[in-house]
């Protein structure tokens, strides 16, 4: 599940990751505020997590700044509505670069690996050079 300040950025990365990883993985975007402007929305994040969760858990990646903070607060249960919607689900926020982490996570999830392995694959992209 990909969280971005921008609808276009989140959807574009879903599109790219889906092409690289193939159809075996569910990818969802939560981009922008509920009006479609730039921002982040706990409500949209919850909805995307619920859409993404097929029972094996969900890995969340965010672009930066308040996208990460909003997701983090949500997963820590600071938002009562969010906490009840996510109760019983395994959701992990990965500390990884948005593009590289999303692609690595998507491919690893598509191969049927566990939630922990998917998080590890995403976080293993930290510090990767572009060339």
């Amino acid at each position: 599940m990909l969280v971005s300040h921008s609808v276009g950025l989140a959807r574009g990365l879903v599109e790219l990751a889906a092409q690289v990883a193939g159809p075996e993985v569910t990818l969802e975007a939560a981009g922008g505020d509920p009006d479609g402007g730039l921002g982040t929305s706990a409500e949209l994040i919850v909805q995307a997590i619920v859409r993404a969760d097929a029972g094996h858990g969900v890995v969340v990646l965010g672009d930066l700044g308040s996208a990460i903070l909003t997701a983090r607060e949500l997963l820590e249960g600071d938002d009562a509505d969010g906490a009840s919607a996510l109760a019983g689900r395994r959701v992990v926020l990965a500390d990884a670069p948005f593009v590289e982490g999303a692609l690595a996570a998507a491919v690893t999830a598509a191969a049927g690996c566990s939630l922990d392995e998917v998080v590890r694959a995403a976080e293993a992209t930290r510090g990767a050079s572009k060339f």
Binding site: V20, E100, V107, T108, A110, G112, C113
Partner: protein, 114 residues
């Protein structure tokens, strides 16, 4: 996925290797050519990672003087391997033979993907 044997045989069993005999993991190697026109970009690299993750064996993919773990998408992209160039696969582990064979076939088939 086949369960990996976690307990190597130790001395004491009839016919077992003498205590202290090093157990070298099975290693398998193959050379395979990337189909012409198919550079090792994100989508083909993703197919290789998915194939490699089906096996316990650790597969290293080399291109020229660069090497990457076949399970690492970014590692494979970092090889900057061009279509028509030769990749060297080396697998270590219990199912290394099957893993190297599967990756060889995956690479050969890249040319027929859209």
């Amino acid at each position: 996925m086949a369960p990996a044997s976690s307990d190597p045989p130790r001395g004491g069993e009839p016919g077992a290797a003498a205590p202290g005999t090093p157990l070298t993991p099975e290693a398998h190697e193959a050379k395979v050519t990337l189909p012409a026109g198919v550079d090792l970009h994100a989508r083909p690299a993703g197919l290789l990672v998915k194939a490699a993750l089906r096996y316990q064996a650790r597969i290293t993919v080399s291109s020229g003087d660069r090497a990457a773990d076949a399970r690492s998408l970014l590692g494979l992209l970092g090889l900057s391997a061009r279509g028509g160039s030769t990749l060297h696969l080396r697998g270590e582990g219990e199912d290394a033979g099957a893993a190297v064979e599967a990756l060889t076939q995956t690479i050969a088939r890249l040319g027929s993907q859209d």
